[in-house]
Amino acid sequence: MDLAIAAKMQPPQQQSPPGVTSAMQPKPDHGERSYVGCRKLAGKTAVITGGDSGIGRAIAIAFSREGADVLISYLDEHDDARAVSVEHNEEHDHG
């Protein structure tokens, strides 16, 4: 997406902590559709705090596509966490 267009689509916004991804405009890109792994972490296991959203979510997605099993911790952002989890279960089904 063109950056200028993205800036126009980034309106003032405020959530109460810890905030959820689904309410953000625009939606952050954690690599859900773009990150392609190549088994760089095959067989590894990883723990990622804050893995439900933001940078931790991007790490969780990338690690799992590189072949790692991933445990994420978070506060009460269960919907975000489920989204990360589902991402991988679907991928697993297709794989």
Partner: protein, 351 residues
């Protein structure tokens, strides 16, 4: 409450929440860690190095203390500029180990000092990641360069070999032009070649020696970047090999250490200047690496057997251990990293 307090409070709250009631979700890795299985979409495998589903992991679990040769090394010395092929043990540039995954498919790269050492590791990795690669080196390094050219071609990529001394601005301009002609463009510039020669005292450091180090290490990256700029499209990357010497200078590398500090600022300043043009600039700051630079005067001969011993991992780095860093910095995947310095000094902090 100012923003700083809010930030601190939210971090405390988050930590408290985690310890008080741990919410976790476990994610199973897909069996064949490729979305839709198989190769990245639209990119055919370039060579036999490309892993498919079910192949062994790219990087098995290994203790970094134990995977490469440790000091003491055999006493050895070569005339400048030295050959990797004459070193004992031979450095590992990833010749047999580096496996690519098309992270640089279709890119065109120029790597100075690409015949040996860290530049060679970058050149091999770039080719296996799908890039066409031009390497520059000194005429005396032709035997090392031939090996790299073969390795690039074995990856199914185009290799262009351009020998010459970077102390000449005219040669630097010709180098870029020749690389662009040979590759059909340029997307990645790695200014890696360096002059390093240990001299114990300031009185012994001649003006010519000082000039040699600065011309090679400071002027050449400037001349190369200037010549390359007209060819670099948005999305291109410039990488400069600096050194931990920029932050922790050795007393006998007075001139070299200064040039490496200049390289750091090259990356930081040029990154700001080129951000509006969509070009990223980063620096890599290695600690002790087992390269020809060290065995032909970069270190005093008598100290070479203990080279790398003082690093927390107890050994020098092998060039291949930096290959993934150059790939990442060159790749569009690190699109928000520019003006950064990536350190690799075996456990010692960089600055």
């Amino acid at each position: 409450m100012d923003d700083d307090d809010k930030e601190k409070l939210s971090r405390r709250q988050m930590l408290g929440g985690v310890t008080a009631g741990l919410a976790v979700a476990a994610i199973a890795a897909p069996a064949a860690a490729q979305p839709q299985g198989g190769q990245p979409q639209g990119v055919p495998p370039q060579n036999g190095m490309h892993p498919g589903p079910g192949t062994k992991p790219l990087a098995a679990m290994r203790d970094p203390q134990k995977i490469y040769a440790k000091p003491p090394f055999a006493k050895q010395s070569q005339p400048w500029p030295g050959l990797a092929s004459q070193m004992r043990p031979r450095p590992d540039h990833g010749e047999t180990s580096y496996r690519g995954s098309n992270r640089l498919a279709g890119r065109k790269a120029l790597v100075t000092g690409g015949d040996s050492g860290i530049g060679r590791a970058a050149a091999i990795a770039f080719a296996r990641e799908g890039a066409d690669v031009a390497i520059n080196y000194l005429p005396a390094e032709e035997p090392d360069a031939r090996e790299v050219v073969s390795l690039i071609r074995e990856s199914g990529r185009r290799a262009v070999a351009i020998p010459g001394d970077l102390r000449s601005p005219a040669f630097c301009r010709k180098l870029v032009a020749t690389a662009v002609d040979g590759l059909g463009g340029l997307d990645i510039l790695v200014s890696n070649a360096a002059r390093q020669h240990a001299v114990e005292s300031l009185e012994q450091l001649t003006d010519d020696a000082f000039d040699w180090t600065f011309k090679t290490n400071v002027y050449a990256p400037f001349w190369l970047a200037k010549a390359a700029l007209q060819h670099l499209q948005p999305g291109s990357a410039i990488i400069i090999t600096a050194s931990v010497q920029a932050y922790q200078p050795s007393p006998n590398l007075f001139d070299y250490a200064q040039t490496k500090a200049a390289n750091i600022v090259f990356a930081k300043a040029l990154a700001k200047q080129l951000a509006p043009r969509g070009i990223r600039v980063n620096a890599v700051a290695p600690g002790p690496f087992w390269t020809p630079l060290q065995v032909c005067g970069g270190q005093p001969t008598e100290k070479l057997p203990e080279f790398g011993k003082d690093s927390p991992l107890g050994r020098p780095g092998q060039p291949v251990e930096l290959a993934p860093v150059y790939v990442t910095l060159a790749s569009a995947e690190s699109s928000y990293s520019s003006g950064q310095v990536f350190g690799a000094s075996g456990g010692s902090g960089v600055d």
